[in-house]
Symmetry: C2
């Protein structure tokens, strides 16, 4: 239990004790649910999302075939995009970012598959929703180079987060927000 | 001492005790420095920045007369912009934001003075560096309307902050970043 992310040895002991005390009402159903998910969950062969079939719900939904692919690092980022509910197209989960330090190259990620999807499906725009970290931006530029000339490639805007006050922002964000300032008039 | 922002009664007692114990080496110089600043500090009549003369250092620096005015809410925001070091023009400190709840109207802020500066100085662009809060954006739109047709009005970009990961962002920021996405190809 202590190997779960976010649970230290102490919290793990608390959780385990709680489970043992409620073993009929909580532990049994949880164990069964886990067994069920462990048996049925798999990666979508197409986009890398997690689902119960070879193709995930988003890839089989025809209403989402609007010619847009949103590229994310991880399934958690896909969930974040879905929570905002503003993107109506399909996804492509890379499974990480390029990283020279960890020796992760394009072949270790699902980048060749993305290039193949752009060639085969009727894709007009690839939106790179990668983190504004060094590795994320490196990956974004690599993919933009790979897809140059095949379809339009865009990335999420950088700037002040909603609710953000200037005084609490770092220099990099202020610089990015000032460089990418937009006209109001 | 407990009336200072960020100091509760407990921290204030600690600070006071520390001051009393070091009264020769710390309290005396601090008291003198405070007296000096209290006597000499004043608001710049031009931009609202804090300085030691009627006109602040930025307003008297001819190299900063590049036709750009950056509008900020408060002196702390001006300091944040200066820390990033990327803006080379002059500032205009509003002294707050429009707020219907607190009954703060345009006359309570330095907005009329801004309109006057745009008319008198050779201003090509006003950059609204206001917070991405409701009041900040209301103020930005009010100023943009006031200055419409007189000069170009821009605002800081909204989006993913530098170093930000998608999973930790709120829905509003993801929506703003996706709406304002920019082309890489």
């Amino acid at each position: 239990m202590a190997r779960l992310p976010g649970l230290g040895p102490r919290s793990a002991r608390r959780a385990v004790l709680h489970l043992i005390q409620k073993r009929g009402r909580l532990m049994q159903p949880l164990a069964q649910a886990m067994q069920q998910v462990a048996d049925s969950a798999r990666e979508c062969v197409h986009c890398g999302n997690i689902g119960t079939a070879d193709l995930c719900d988003i890839c089989t939904d025809d209403r989402r075939a609007n010619g847009e692919i949103c590229v994310v690092e991880d399934v958690s980022d896909l969930w974040a995009m879905e929570r905002s509910g503003v993107f109506k197209g399909r996804y492509h989960v890379l499974g990480g970012t390029l990283s020279a330090l960890d020796a992760i190259g394009p072949e270790d990620l699902r980048i060749p598959l993305l290039v193949q999807r752009v060639a085969e499906e009727n894709i007009s725009e690839v939106i790179l929703a990668l983190g504004a970290t060094v590795d994320g931006q490196t990956t974004a530029h690599y993919i933009a180079d790979e897809l140059a000339g095949r379809c339009s490639v865009t990335s999420l805007a950088q700037g002040v987060p909603v609710g953000g006050e200037l005084d609490y922002l770092d220099d990099g964000t202020i610089t990015a927000a000032l460089t990418a300032r937009k006209s109001l008039s």
